[in-house]
Amino acid sequence: MEKKIALYCCENSAYKAAACLTGPELQKGIEIIKLPCTGKMEINLILKTLEQGYAGVLVAGCPIDNCKYIRGSSRAEKRIEKTRELLKAAGIPEQRVRMEFLSSVDSHKLAGAIKEMKQELEGVMS
């Protein structure tokens, strides 16, 4: 069975964009999880997700300067960066974790990020 990407979405932006994703190619291999804000994202949760067998974790939140909770996206960005550092230090491809900033109408941007991440993961996981 193909390993999935866990797509953690802020309910104020990316979750709405994800709802508009069309086409089986995009929806295949993705599991969408709704967050109240990406500021809720913890390093523990990202690593646990990978540990459970997901190929990658894509965190999608509001643009840095347009977070409903002001600092949520910037806090998430720092945690994603720290997680990537931890993975790299452990010899695990850091490409398995990624963050995207987008608004609720940016379905095309989210689709692009998913495609790109799938391709990257194919490269590093093979």
Partner: protein, 222 residues
């Protein structure tokens, strides 16, 4: 509080090789507050090790637990079975906790996951700064509450060295010159004349130079 930072992952990973069952044991006090070795950090370290093991094909069971303090005997009661069951303990306590765990469980390998740094304060979220060197003979009363031993890079007791420039230390421009801070504070307190007093050579035997410290409170002993 005692502050610490996690050791580089490759150093930790190297030291735990060869064990089939590893207990990662966190400490719920100082290192939880400084976000280096509490329950959350134990979880992150355990997950990272498991992922590295998956990648490297290493067969190792990892247990996780965190006790209130690793520097007090009674808190180990809750985890003694887990410690006995494990081949080794990877402790995320400060150096005190690692040693005490090792003392209590003779014959059990206890490995440190942290580098213990200093007695410090939490200046801001995610920022800690040294304030005390544990010299055993506190001089804060003489210097307006600013410690020249912990905060001057040279631990000078009679004024700044020639390396003090614009209120910063020559060791690192990010470090405030402790003597500039002392001068400013004493001026504010209208106590500058106190700095005219010559501070005699310090007796360092009350601290590290006197050998390992020990406190015995006869009124408290059983």
């Amino acid at each position: 509080m005692i502050t610490a930072v996690q050791k580089p992952f490759d150093e930790i990973y190297r030291t735990i090789q060869g064990y089939k069952k590893l207990l990662i044991l966190g400490c719920g006090t100082c290192v939880t507050v400084c976000m280096a070795g509490g329950e959350k950090e134990v979880g992150v370290l355990a997950s990272t090790i498991r992922l590295a093991n998956q990648k490297n094909g290493v067969d190792m069971e990892i247990l996780e637990d965190t006790i209130e303090r690793q520097c007090d005997k009674e808190f180990f009661d809750d985890v003694k079975d887990k410690i006995q069951e494990a081949d080794a303990v990877l402790s995320t306590a400060c150096g005190v906790g690692v040693q005490y765990c090792s003392e209590l469980f003779q014959g059990k390998r206890v490995i440190p996951a942290l580098n213990t740094k200093f007695y410090g304060t939490n200046l801001d979220v995610g920022v800690w700064s040294e304030r005390c060197a544990g010299c055993g003979d506190c001089v804060l009363e003489k210097f307006g509450g600013i410690c020249p031993i912990a905060r001057c890079s040279k631990s000078l007791l009679n004024g700044p060295c020639g390396g003090s420039q614009d209120g910063k230390c020559e060791v690192d421009p990010e470090i405030d010159c402790a003597w500039q801070l002392i001068f400013d504070r004493m001026k504010e307190l209208n106590m500058l004349d106190r700095l005219e007093e010559n501070e005699p050579i310090k007796d360092w035997s009350t601290g590290r130079d006197g050998g390992p410290g020990k406190i015995v409170r006869e009124d408290m002993t059983l």
